[in-house]
């Protein structure tokens, strides 16, 4: 009977919560991008001012994901 192979070095095991956060990261970024561009188009805020929000969302996702890694 063969044992389960060990994970490759450097490959993190994700908890279900971390996997969920990682899966949500892309859609969240996409929604944020859409909101910023819509705000630009409607004349509320220029995208040239608000684009750092994308970095913040991406960073927050990565942080949350990191917190969930076993």
């Amino acid at each position: 009977m063969s044992a389960t192979p060990p994970p490759l070095p450097g490959t993190p095991l994700l908890s279900p919560r971390a996997a969920l956060i990682r899966a949500l990261c892309g859609p969240l970024l996409l929604t944020t991008l859409g909101v910023l561009l819509a705000a630009d188009r409607l004349g509320a805020m220029s995208f040239s001012r608000t684009w750092p929000a994308l970095l913040i969302v991406f960073g927050a996702c990565k942080l949350a994901e990191h917190a969930g890694v076993k």
């Binding site: 969920l20 990682r22 949500l24 969240l28 859409g34 188009r41 004349g43």
Partner: protein, 481 residues
């Protein structure tokens, strides 16, 4: 089996529905809608995907490694590039390459700083008043005084007072010239990038003045001027009342063009939304795409309207024409008149002289005044209804390649039926009335004496149309101009 996202099939359904709508209403400016609202596509896409993943997580299904795959991000980039380019190309903004946009009523950063402006220049009785390229609103009124007077305010959007003061000094208001030519200059283009300057001006000019205005965006309201009016603007709403001379408007992306009591010829070019012309004593020429309400009422000279899908020409219009999306309603017009359109349901009542109607897709309903005018109407796909009053004289030939024929006039009109369609013929000595549809019914009926016109004349408020106003002014500071 790998589970795909709902977005792709929903996108296909949405695209199919959009193309379907486009086929039914060819005038619908879908590209323009996409250029304005494409970011919402990204929002819907992101929210859908969020919902999907949340649903999979709560039902313990396996989650995808990436919520949005690399290919999908490439598609997002394509949408952004295409949407931004289209937006700039259609003139909604100068997004490329400077990244500046027009700010609307809702502004999150910076403050509005207000500076009063005023100036006066003596002039002759009929000077040319030139307003150089500016952003903002201008209300121009003719008076009996022999001078050009400007009052109003300059609004500067800036992060702080010092920046606003600097911009105010860099963009001095100027009025100069001589008795024959007065130039009003706002110097807004001297403001640095990131600061937006707009002016709101009340300008009084001699009644005999001519106006030449160049605007980037904003509204012009001009009244009681005996001279010519020439406006050249990127984005503008225009209201004219009581203009004596020729009017030439060239507006790349117009909002509302409303003209009342214009004595000279009227020439409008560009693209926009609504047109509303009433009591026009000169020839009216319009060339461009207008997607909102188009209304003409009481035109004393010929009208030539050339749009991307519709062309209209006629001699005079004592009555009214209305062209909401997908329809053309007119009553009381004098021919020779010609209408050519791709896809509209056409209803015309009380027309005289001659009428020529050509429609690709759409029904045609005609009710000529007496004596009946010469009519030539055909549609490729749609019904044709002709309502004739008692005592009408005509020489009728009405045919359909595929469809039914119906006749209220009994034996005076004979029907020759063919395999799928047929022809009706009947003459009592009047002018030729030729009707033909490739596919659809042809109905000849008796008109009732009390049937209302298809486009009854209406009384509308001159100031009732939506035009943007300045708002949200928070601080006022006076400086040396």
């Amino acid at each position: 089996m790998r589970r795909g996202s709902l977005f792709a099939p929903l996108l296909l359904i949405a695209l199919g529905a959009l193309f379907m709508v486009r086929n039914v209403y060819p005038d619908l400016p879908l590209l323009s809608y996409f250029a304005k609202y494409w970011p919402f596509l990204l929002i819907v896409w992101g929210l859908l995907r969020l919902g999907e993943i949340a649903f999979w997580a709560t039902t313990n299904r396996p989650l995808p490694r990436r919520g949005v795959s690399g290919g999908e991000w490439a598609f997002v980039l394509l949408i952004c590039f295409f949407g931004g380019a289209l937006n700039a190309a259609l003139g909604f903004s100068n997004w490329f390459p400077r990244g500046r946009i027009e700010l609307g009523g809702l502004e999150m950063f910076g403050e509005s700083y207000d500076y009063p402006i005023s100036g006066e220049r003596p002039s002759g009785k009929s000077p040319l008043v030139v307003i150089e390229s500016f952003r903002g609103n201008a209300r121009i009124t003719g008076t009996d005084e022999a001078s050009v007077k400007v009052t109003g305010r300059k609004t500067i959007r800036s992060m702080d007072q010092a920046g606003a003061d600097g911009a105010a000094q860099a963009t001095p208001f100027e009025i100069e010239g001589d008795a024959n030519r007065v130039v009003i200059r706002t110097n807004q283009d001297r403001a640095s990038i990131g600061q937006r300057v707009s002016n709101e001006m009340e300008i009084s000019v001699p009644k005999g003045a001519s106006i030449e205005a160049h605007g980037r965006s904003g509204d012009f309201t001009i009244s009681s001027i005996d001279g010519a009016v020439t406006i050249d603007a990127d984005r503008a709403g225009v209201r004219l009342d009581n203009i004596g001379g020729e009017t030439r408007l060239d507006i790349r992306s117009g909002d509302v063009v409303r003209a009342l009591n214009v004595k000279g010829n009227f020439d409008l070019r560009g693209n926009g939304s609504d047109i509303d012309l009433e009591n026009m004593n000169g020839t009216v020429t319009i060339n461009g795409g207008y997607t909102g309400d188009v209304v003409f009422q009481n035109l004393s000279k010929p009208l030539h309207f050339v749009g991307p899908q519709t062309e209209v020409s006629l001699q005079t219009l004592p009555g009214q024409i209305r062209m909401p999306l997908g329809t053309f309603n007119a009553s009381n017009l004098t021919g020779p008149a010609r209408l050519e359109t791709r896809s509209r349901d056409v209803q015309i009542s009380e027309f005289t002289n001659s009428l020529e109607v050509s429609v690709d897709r759409g029904d045609i309903e005609l009710r000529p005044a007496l004596p009946v005018a010469k009519v030539d109407a055909h549609t490729r796909s749609g019904n044709i209804t002709l309502a004739l009053a008692d005592g009408a004289k005509f020489d009728l030939t009405a045919s359909t390649n595929r469809g039914q024929l119906s006749n209220d006039f009994g034996g005076s009109i004979r029907i020759e039926e063919s395999a799928r369609g047929g022809t009706m013929r009947g003459s009592n000595g009047g002018p030729a009335v030729d009707l033909h549809t490739d596919m659809g019914e042809v109905i000849i009926r008796k008109a009732m004496p009390d049937e209302p016109p298809f486009a009854p004349r209406s009384v509308r408020e001159f100031n009732g149309k939506r035009l943007k106003q300045f708002k949200g002014l928070k601080q006022l500071k006076q400086i040396e101009q």
